[in-house]
Symmetry: C2
Subunit: 473 residues, 2 copies
C-alpha cells in the first residue's frame, strides 16, 4: 500500500522549517500549518475503505520520502492504546503524520488521576476530542478516537473488530510508581488495570486479529539495579556446565514497575503458546515535551508533568530551575537510569512497527539512549541554567522510595540503534529549549505539587489519596 | 509456650496404629479416635486466652514429643488461607493436631468450581463447617473457620485483627492450570483472584501484623523447563566479569502458573521494601489423599481430584487403573516434574512455620521430593496394578497443553531436607495404598471427567465453561 499523498514542495518547506533550531523552527512549522494544505487521495486501507486526506504540514524533521519502505505508513492500521497520554499522544501524531492509519483507544483516566489528586500539567492541554479535531484541521488526517476501557472486554473487542489493527501500540497503563504506592487501593488498581488490560489485549489479538503485532511499553525499571550488565530482555547463562538463554531476572521497585514485569511474563507465554508476534519495549525515563506535531498548534500541545507523583526527575528539575526553587535530589542521588528524548520515543515506536517481531517471539528492546544519575541531571540543569542567567541550587531530601542510591548500572541499548534509531542526546541543545519552555509556562507552576507525596515505606491500607494530593514533607 | 496435652499412653497407641500398613492402620486410628480421649489443659495463646483441649487421637505417625522445640505448636497462631482445599485442609489438621492454634480462612470457592463444571471429588467430603465441628469432636481441638474472600479487604482485615496471626500459610489461590486456560474470563479471574488476593495479604501483614511470617505456596511450574539446573529461587550469575545473585528466571506455562510468578515478584518487593519475613514454597505436584488426621473420621476425609481440570497426572492414572481405563499420557510423556506425597506437604509447611524466614527476606524452598516423567508414572502405576491383578494399559493422547515433551530437568530440593524433612517416597508402599483407595471409591468415578477438557491453543474469548464441563475429545 504505497502512499503518495505528500507533495514534494510541502516536504521541502517542512524540512526547512524543521531545520531551524528551537522555537524558531516550531513557529515556522506552525506558520506552515496554517496554510491550505496540499491534498491527495491515498489508497484506502482495505478493511476500512475510507478516503484519507494527506497533507504535508504534519511531517517532521525526518519526513518520509513518498513510497520509501519502512519509513512511510502507507495506511498501515495502528491502534494506539493510551493514545491520549504523554507518550501515546506524541506517537499517535508522529505516525498519523507519516501516513499510518491511527486509531486512539483511551479511557482518559490519566486526566482523572490529575483531578483526583489536584495535579495539573504545566502545559494547558486540550480535550481528547478537540485534539483529534484540531489534528484533522491542521494535517488533513483523520485519527479515530475510541473512548473506553481495555479492561472492558465488550468495548475492546468492538474496537478490534471495527478497526482491525495490524499493529497495537499499548501505552494504556497506569504509569506512575508513586501513584501505585499511594495506598493499598492504588496498588491493587495499578496491577489490576495494567495486568488484566494487557491480558485482554492478548486475547483480542489471538482471537480477533491473529496476525496483529503487539508493541507493548514496558520499562527499564523491570530490571531493577543488578550488579551485572543489563541485557535486552534475555540473558544467556552457563550454569553447572549447561547453557540456556532465559528471560532476564526482574527486580522491580514498585507495584507499578511490577505490573510491567507481570505483563512481560504473560506476553512471553502468549507469544509461545499462541504464536503471537510481540515487541516488549523496556523504555527508560522520557523527557521533553516537544515533537514537531504536538507543537504545530496550541490545541495539540503535549502534557508536561512535573509533580511529585507523575513528574520524572529531569522534568521536575527543569521546572524547579525555571522558578528559582532548589533542585530536590532524593537521597544520595547516585540512582542511575536510562533516559531518552520524547522525539526518540516516537521514532522507536515507528521502528518497532516497521520491523515487526516474528510470530511466536516476544522480542525485547531496551528503549533509551543515555544513562544518567540523578546527580548528573542536577549538574546538567545547573550548568544550562547558568547559561540563561539562572542561579540553580540543589538540595538533598529524604528519599521517599526504597532503592539503591549508589549502585552499578550498565544497560545495553543497541537493538533499536541497529534498526535505524538516531538519538537526540540531552547535550544537543535539548536542555536549553526545555528550560526556555518551562520559563514560558512558569506562571502555571504550583510548587506544592513538586514535593514527594508518597512514601514507599508508609503506603498504608487506609485510603491515602488526600494525603498524596496535599504534599507533605 | 510448652504444650503438655498429649499423654504418653495415647501416643503409644497412636504410634502402633500408624505403624500398621494401609487400611489396617487407618482403621486402627479410626478406632482409637472413637475412644474417649485423654485431655489436658494447655497454656492458652496470649492473644486469645482460650482454653484448648488436647487429645492424643489426632497425633500422627510422627507425633511430637511434649515440649520438644520445633515440633510442637505451643499455641502458635497460624492462619491458613485456603484451609478447606486439598493441601490446606490436610495442613490445618496436621498443625492443629500438633498444638498450633489454627484459623482457616476460605471463601469455599473451590467447591463452587466443581459445581460450575460438573466435577466432583472421588471422595465424598463433608461441608467445611461439618469438618471443623467433627475435628473438634475427634481431637478436642478448636479450629476457627472464617468464611470469606481475601480479595475483600474488609473481610481480610477483620480476620487479621481478630486472629492476630503469627504465621499466615497462604494456599488461597485458584490452583488449576487448565481452569485458568478455559477461556479469557477464567484467565482474568485466575490472575485477578490470585495476584490481588496476595497483595491484600501483604498489606494486611505490613499494617496489621507486622511481625507475621508469610508462608506462601508457589509452584515448581514457575520455573518452566530450562536447559540448566533449577536452583531454589535464586541463581548466582557471572556475566561479563561481574557476579550477582538474582531471582531465578521464570518461564511459566499457563495463566495459573504465571499468577504465582507474579506473586513471587510482588512478595520479593514487599520483603525488601517493608522488611517482611516471607517463605515462598515452590511446590511440586502433590499426590495421595491420606494423612493420619484426615483419615481419623469419614467427615474429615480429604478431597481427591482425578478430573481433567483439577486432577494431577498421578491421581488420574491411579483412578484409571482402578476402573480398567487405559492411562492417558499427554503427547510423548517425557514431561518431567517434581512430585511429593501430601504427608510431606503438611510436614514442609510445619518446617517452614517452625523455622521462619528472617525479616526483609523472601526465602524460597523447592518443595518436592522426587522427579518423575509422565511415562515414569505410567510405568509405576502399571507395575503396581499388576501386583493387585489389574491389567493396566497406556495410550498417548494429543497434548492439550503447550509444553516441551522431551527436555532436560534437574531441580534442587535440599533446603527442606536440611531443615528436617524425611520424605515419603513413592516407592515406599504409597502406590499400593493409593490404588486400594481408588478401588474402594471406584463406584464414584465418572470417566467422562478424566478427559482433557481444555486446550491451551484454543482458550477462546467466548465463554467456554460449558465446553470445559462437558469433556470432548
Amino acid at each position: 500500500m504505497a502512499c503518495t499523498g505528500v507533495t514534494a514542495g510541502r516536504i521541502v518547506e517542512q524540512r526547512a522549517a524543521a531545520a531551524m533550531p528551537g522555537l524558531a523552527g516550531i513557529k515556522a512549522a506552525r506558520s506552515a500549518a496554517g496554510k491550505p494544505a496540499a491534498r491527495a487521495v491515498m489508497a484506502a486501507a482495505p478493511a476500512r475503505r475510507r478516503t484519507l486526506r494527506v497533507a504535508a504540514t504534519a511531517t517532521t524533521d525526518a519526513p518520509p520520502a513518498a513510497g520509501t519502505a519502512n519509513s512511510n505508513g502507507g495506511g498501515t492500521r495502528v491502534m494506539i492504546i493510551g493514545g491520549d497520554g504523554y507518550c501515546g499522544w506524541a506517537t499517535a501524531l508522529h505516525l498519523s503524520a507519516r501516513g499510518y492509519n491511527v486509531c486512539i483507544v483511551d479511557n482518559l483516566v490519566r486526566r482523572n488521576y490529575d483531578l483526583q489528586l489536584g495535579l495539573d500539567t504545566l502545559t494547558p492541554i486540550a480535550s481528547a476530542h478537540e485534539r483529534v479535531r484540531k489534528w484533522g484541521e491542521v494535517s488533513g488526517k483523520h485519527i479515530d478516537l475510541q473512548v473506553g476501557d481495555i479492561c472492558d472486554w465488550e468495548f475492546l473487542s468492538q474496537a478490534f473488530t471495527s478497526f482491525k489493527p495490524e499493529h497495537v501500540v499499548h501505552f494504556g497503563e497506569q504509569r506512575s510508581a508513586p501513584y501505585s504506592m499511594i495506598d493499598r487501593q492504588h496498588a491493587i488498581y495499578t496491577q489490576s488495570n495494567n495486568v488484566l488490560g494487557t491480558i485482554n489485549v492478548l486475547y483480542a489479538i489471538k482471537e480477533l486479529s491473529p496476525d496483529c503485532h503487539l508493541v507493548k511499553l514496558g520499562t527499564m525499571g523491570e530490571y531493577g539495579t543488578p550488579n551485572i550488565d543489563i541485557e535486552e530482555g534475555y540473558l544467556t547463562v552457563t550454569h553447572n556446565g549447561r547453557t540456556d538463554t532465559l528471560p532476564y531476572p526482574k527486580q522491580a521497585g514498585s507495584f507499578y514497575h511490577l505490573s510491567k514485569v507481570h505483563d512481560s511474563h504473560n506476553m512471553h507465554f502468549a507469544a509461545r503458546a499462541w504464536k503471537l508476534p510481540i515487541t516488549d519495549l523496556n523504555q527508560g525515563v522520557v523527557y521533553g515535551v516537544r515533537t514537531e506535531e504536538t507543537m504545530a498548534d496550541k490545541a495539540l500541545i503535549n502534557r508536561y508533568d512535573y509533580d511529585g507523583i507523575f513528574g520524572t526527575a529531569l522534568n521536575r528539575f527543569v521546572v524547579q530551575a525555571a522558578v528559582g526553587h532548589p533542585l530536590t535530589v532524593y537521597g544520595k542521588g547516585g540512582q542511575t537510569r536510562g533516559f531518552l528524548d520524547i522525539r526518540d520515543t516516537v521514532r522507536c515506536i515507528q521502528i518497532a512497527v516497521d520491523n515487526p517481531a516474528p510470530k511466536g517471539e516476544m522480542r525485547v528492546f531496551n528503549q533509551f539512549t543515555e544513562q544518567f544519575s540523578v546527580n548528573d541531571l542536577a549538574r546538567i540543569v545547573t550548568a544550562e541554567g547558568a547559561k540563561l542567567g539562572l542561579e540553580v541550587k540543589t538540595v538533598s531530601i529524604p528519599n521517599p522510595r526504597v532503592e539503591a542510591e549508589e549502585h552499578y548500572y550498565n544497560a545495553k541499548c543497541t537493538k533499536l540503534r541497529d534498526l535505524g534509531l538516531e538519538p537526540h542526546f540531552l547535550s544537543d541543545g535539548m536542555m536549553d529549549s526545555l528550560l526556555q519552555f518551562a520559563i514560558e509556562y512558569k506562571d502555571r507552576v504550583n510548587l506544592e505539587l513538586i514535593k514527594p507525596a508518597v512514601d514507599w515505606r508508609k503506603s498504608p491500607v487506609s485510603v491515602a489519596t488526600m494525603s498524596a494530593a496535599v504534599a507533605k514533607q
